[in-house]
């Protein structure tokens, strides 16, 4: 198909670069520089897809991100839905299909790379139209660091769509010079194809850059497809321009009803004539340029309809001079046509916007509409800046800034070119000055548009020729939502008054375009129907980011797959991998869960590992426990205050298990702390809570007890820790540490010894047990961890030493009734609830102590840690299962508690569980029930210590 509507010359398109594309399966040709929308229009295609709810034909209505209709799905390795034909740059082979409001998610994993960049700048200028360019130029000349962001592939903004002149030459020559100058500034960065999507606290803006989309869907090696810029700016200059508003009249949704500014952009920027016999409808001066440009492009402008009774005489004269019939004080009150507008109906309106004369029908194939200009205050409003309604401009304009930001140009309601340039220069100089680069503003060159436009006459609601608003169901307010004046009237009759309520009732402004162009028009309709004097009395809805839709892939960046979240590994990790460990995530750590032999089930592997620890010797990588050096003369006193039990009098080279609570008495963390010297302890924390505990210690030291002389240093990775466990562990330690007397008398439980291993590596060996068995923990500098582990494996080889993972560790500790903080507790559990009264000192003060006298913590029916034995010893209770007293109780019923840990035990020859049960310790021997989808499991409550209750095994 030839490009039937392409103008013979002009435009910013490259006629030497034809591009083939398909739309809805039909092949077309466009030019480099086209958008998909302009290429379709060049081929005479106006209709994109029917509307979502009423299936009415809809066409391209705008030339930018405010487009309400032209949604498409673009094919590629991973097809992308809900893109706008007006913002897709054409590329060779593009294939797209129109969407009626709903896209299709492609289940293919998206392999495209998206990344992020964090930068700082003195001045961030959003928008590279005349005002933004002027601001960037002025600020950059001063020496300030400048970032200039624009969503188009080339700079110029509105100048790309017009035929203005600056300093006696085409305005785009001035743009080109500005670009050259900015590019030469060392500390100015220009980001094109980049949309500022969010304006957050403290001048933090997010900018979405499309880096390769214009080249097609295939990845470009090394180049991310899109990049999310995180920009922290001292000063922000918003030169975001303005959106031309649609007008609300009967049949305003027909294909061929288009923004007048968009028509001008298609003419001048894309060299496309969207219609050969257009009518122009306007409330303001701006559309006269569209009408004249249409005539210049060879169109026969059938009429220019201006709502104002007395538009500026020079504009009217120039239009009439070009052969255009001008209707003043009038509006289009209806359209004719099926798939495309074929005629409009024009009538005079009186001062109250009531039809006051005969209706005339004029044949046409395009209606170019300018309902007025709404400054694009989206980012301004996101920054929490306020807006006010300006009666002279008939628009909401920025009022009070909430951050270090200023609006310039059309974004401020300044619509003349000279005003935009002057405002931009001044804002750029001011921004640079605030950043410490004082200067004076350049003088403003003469331009072709140096007179502010005359006052517009908005007509928020063009009346229908018959009926009343409740019947005007073809007066569209939001095209994408198919919402009409009748819908608004229904909302008002239902009692809505607030624009926020009406928005939600009618869904106006909630589609992909968020009512960019139509939002203020909708406010105008609401004001009219409520009898308000102006939209200012109604106000706007809240503007929320992102300014344009962006993909989740962009927001995720590289934080997906292997880079999703930090993965922490121990020094011994390579051995675990090599030996087939199955890993478990514990916080960010990868810990061996169990080490299956070929063909071995999880249960069998865990049972084998447990048996080795109970009957022979087994080894575990315990390096992930948090470790904190606590040093200073007051270290003991400090520990006395943070632990519920006492540490100040702990003997050197001795260790003690401790529990720490929050001030409310709930258990926060636990672990073993070892005293290395009079003024030196090393504390261990749970794996997942190491950073939190260090924060906790610093908080109390710095904010409550600064007089205490104590210092904390995190040494978690300084030490690799190898736990050697089981009745034969002593033999392994004896072989590894020949200088050490490992007898029970010389090296008793809960003590530590410094020694040098046979390998020559310095080690600290502790007798600590988390299994009830004889056990040792070998601590060596992290970089010796792997070699030391390997030497333990070698030394234990003759004894059948068995590596074990976290699952076995859990079984072993649970058999002994040892709770895991964070698994068997949940922030509502006291040490007493865990049956650990013995760890709570009665003699010294500590954090949380007072809370144990609160009525709530003294309640008898608090949930307490107990053991639970299923009646059927082969049945495993699921962790998290709720427990009730009566198996037959009707739902809902009150739960007594829940299962916190549940395992199969080789040592017990059965399954068992730990649970938190209300008044549990008074219920020993009682039967409870776990109602589950597959049936009810009965179980008996027992003491939590199920294995070796007398503790006979810890010394071997």
């Amino acid at each position: 198909m030839t490009q039937s509507h392409r103008l013979p010359d002009g435009g910013r398109v490259d006629r030497s670069a034809p591009l083939r594309f398909t739309f809805d399966g039909v092949a077309y040709t466009g030019l480099r520089g086209d958008t998909l929308a302009s290429a379709l229009l060049a081929n005479g295609v106006l209709h994109v897809a029917p509307s979502l709810y009423r299936r009415r034909p809809r066409g391209i209505a705008t030339a930018g991100a405010e487009e309400p209709n032209a949604l498409v799905q673009v094919d590629g390795p991973c097809s992308e839905p809900m893109l706008l034909a007006t913002t897709i740059e054409l590329y060779e082979g593009l294939s797209a299909a129109g969407l009626a409001g709903l896209g299709r998610l492609d289940p293919t994993p998206d392999q495209a790379v998206h990344d992020k960049m964090h930068i700082h700048t003195d001045v961030l200028v959003v928008g590279a139209g005349p005002a933004g360019l002027a601001a960037a130029l002025a600020a950059g000349r001063c020496g300030a660091r400048v970032v200039l962001v624009d969503d188009q592939p080339e700079l110029g903004g509105s100048l790309l769509a017009g035929r203005e002149s600056i300093d006696g030459r085409p305005a785009l020559d001035w743009v080109a010079e500005a670009r050259t100058e900015l590019a030469a500034q060392v500390d100015t960065r220009i980001l094109t194809r980049s949309t500022a999507i969010g304006y957050h606290d403290h001048n933090y803006l997010l900018v979405a850059e499309r880096r390769t989309d214009h080249l097609g869907p295939q990845p470009v090696p090394g180049i991310s497809r899109q990049r999310l810029w995180h920009i922290r700016a001292r000063r922000v200059v918003l030169a975001t321009g303005a959106h031309e508003r649609p007008m609300v009249f009967a049949g305003n949704d027909l294909p061929g009803v288009m923004s007048a500014a968009a028509v001008r952009a298609y003419l001048n920027r894309y060299a496309v004539l969207p219609g050969r016999r257009p009518v122009v409808l306007t409330t303001n001066d701006h559309a006269y340029a569209t009408a004249l440009d249409l005539v210049a492009a060879g169109a026969q402008v059938a009429a220019l309809v201006d709502t104002r009774p007395e538009p500026p005489a020079d504009l009217v004269n120039s239009a009439r001079g070009a052969g255009i019939e001008v209707h003043t004080g009038s509006a289009v009150v209806g359209t004719r046509g099926h798939d495309r507008v074929s005629a409009v109906r024009i009538a005079e309106l009186d001062a109250d916007d009531v039809i006051s004369g005969p209706v005339r029908e004029v044949a046409c194939d395009l209606l170019a509409v300018s309902g007025g200009w709404s400054p694009a205050v989206h980012l301004w409003s996101q920054s929490q800046g306020t807006t006010r309604y300006d009666d002279d401009l008939a628009a909401f304009v920025p009022a009070q800034a909430a951050q270090n930001v200023v609006s310039v140009g059309a974004a401020l309601g300044v619509l003349d070119l000279a005003g935009c340039l002057g405002g931009g220069f001044a804002a750029g100089v001011e921004a640079a000055d605030l950043a410490g680069f004082p200067s004076t503003a350049p003088s403003v060159p003469p331009t072709s548009v140096d007179r502010p436009p005359a006052r517009p006459r908005p007509v928020w609601l063009v009346p229908g020729e018959t009926g009343d608003p409740s019947e005007w169901s073809d007066h569209f307010v939001d095209l994408q939502r198919d919402a009409t004046v009748a819908d608004v009237q229904r909302a008002i009759r239902a009692g809505m008054r607030s624009v926020e309520h009406i928005k939600r009732y009618t869904t106006i402004g909630t589609a992909h375009d968020q009512g960019k162009a139509s939002g203020v028009s909708a406010t105008g309709v609401i004001a009219r129907l409520l009898g308000a004097r102006s939209p200012g009395e109604v106000g706007t809805t809240t503007y929320r980011g992102p300014y344009v839709p962006v993909s989740f892939a962009l927001l995720a960046g590289r934080e997906r797959g292997a880079l999703f979240d930090p993965v922490r590994t121990t020094a011994i990790h390579p051995w675990h991998v090599e030996h087939g460990a199955v890993f478990e995530n514990v916080g960010q750590w990868k810990r061996p869960w169990y080490y299956p032999r070929p063909g071995e089930s999880t249960a069998a592997a865990v049972e084998r590992e447990c048996r080795a620890a109970r009957e022979g010797v087994a080894v575990m990588d315990a390096s992930t426990l948090g470790k904190i050096d606590v040093i200073g003369p007051d270290a003991g006193e400090f520990l006395n205050r943070v632990y519920t039990n006492a540490f100040a009098k702990l003997a050197v080279n001795s260790a003690r298990y401790g529990v720490m609570c929050r001030a409310d008495g709930m258990v926060l963390d636990d672990g073993v702390t070892l005293r290395l010297a009079a003024d030196h302890y090393i504390m261990t924390t749970t794996t997942g809570n190491a950073a939190g505990v260090l924060d906790w210690l610093e908080e109390w030291l710095q904010t409550e007890w600064p007089e205490l002389r104590v210092r904390f240093t995190s040494v978690t990775e300084q030490w690799a820790t190898v736990a050697v466990v089981g009745p034969r562990s002593r033999e392994v330690i004896a072989a590894l540490a020949p200088d050490l007397d490992v007898s029970n008398d010389a090296f008793p439980f809960m003590t530590a010894r410094e020694t040098r291993l046979a390998s020559g590596v310095a080690a600290r060996i502790c007798r600590i047990s988390f299994s009830g068995e004889l056990a040792f923990e070998i601590n060596v500098a992290g970089w010796y961890g792997l070699a030391t582990w390997e030497s333990v494996i070698r030394a234990g080889g003759p004894l059948g030493i068995t590596p074990y993972g976290t699952e076995t560790m859990h079984v072993l500790r649970a058999e002994k009734g040892y709770p895991i903080i964070g698994q068997d507790t949940d922030g509502t559990v006291t040490p007493q609830d865990l049956g650990m009264e013995w760890v709570v000192s009665q003699r010294k003060p500590f954090i949380g102590k007072r809370s144990f006298r609160r009525a709530d913590t003294a309640r008898g029916d608090r949930r307490q840690l107990v053991g639970v034995l299923p009646a059927d010893p082969a049945v495993l209770l699921p962790e998290g299962a709720q427990l009730v007293a009566d198996a037959e109780a009707s739902v809902p019923t009150r739960a007594l508690g829940h299962v916190t840990s549940s395992y199969r035990s080789a040592a017990l020859g059965r399954t068992f569980a730990l649970a938190l049960v209300a008044g549990g310790r008074e219920r020993l021997g009682e039967t409870v029930y776990a109602p589950l989808p597959d049936g009810v499991i009965a179980a008996t409550i027992t003491d939590p210590v199920l294995y070796d209750p007398k503790g006979t095994r810890r010394d071997g």
Binding site: H120, P566, V567, E717, S759, G782, W783
Partner: protein, 202 residues
């Protein structure tokens, strides 16, 4: 077997990979591990007699200007906080430096903790090094705000690092906990990938 032959740095097994991913040229960037640096965490009051004794012993006062590094002799003293420094030295120098610092501390409250194995050091250098960091670090690394002799404890990606700019090429050193080293390296290699390819021309 001596103890030293049993040492493994967290990234020792990746030396070839890092070299293979390093590139030269006007937008080149290089990554290598500098293993086994001696590292001592030093905490004390910055203006007491002990600080003066340490200044005498090191031949240079501890840096009290935030986010700066001093380089007395073969050591580097990295400011970590108002009362905390990281003293870096060549492999094997830790014990001697610790003795010296502890002797200077005497009985004044403070601490000297050997953390040499707690972190390893990555060196990122080349014209594109700053851009690589900017992909995951929110600090202002522009030469007007950050430069040789500056340091910061901050986040790179989601990983806490001690960042130290060594020279203006720029060369940075990143001290990272051993458990995070592999992940951070993967992250850096991914961020460096762009600079192995030609610049995108409009």
């Amino acid at each position: 077997m001596t103890a030293d032959t049993q040492r493994r740095s967290p990234l020792g097994h990746l030396a070839d990979v890092l070299a293979a991913h390093s590139t030269g040229g006007e937008r080149g960037v290089r990554l290598r591990e500098v293993p086994f640096l001696a590292q001592l965490d030093l905490q004390l009051h910055p203006h007491g007699p002990a600080a003066e004794r340490i200044a005498t012993a090191l031949g240079s006062p501890l840096p009290t200007e935030p986010n700066t590094v001093t380089e007395p002799g073969s050591l580097q003293v990295v400011w970590l906080g108002p009362q905390e420094w990281l003293v870096l030295g060549p492999d094997g120098s830790g014990s001697a430096t610790a003795e010296l610092l502890r002797a200077a501390l005497t009985d004044e409250p403070g601490s000297v903790v050997d953390v040499s194995a707690n972190r390893t050091t990555l060196e990122l250098s080349g014209p594109a090094a700053r851009q690589v960091l900017e992909k995951g670090c929110s600090l202002d690394l522009h030469p007007r705000a950050f430069g040789p002799g500056r340091c910061a404890q901050t986040l790179l990606g989601k990983v806490q690092v001690i960042l130290h700019q060594v020279d203006a090429e720029p060369t940075y050193r990143l001290l990272v906990r051993g458990s995070f080293a592999q992940y951070l390296t993967d992250w850096l290699l991914d961020a460096m990938e762009e600079y192995r390819h030609p610049r995108l021309t409009p």
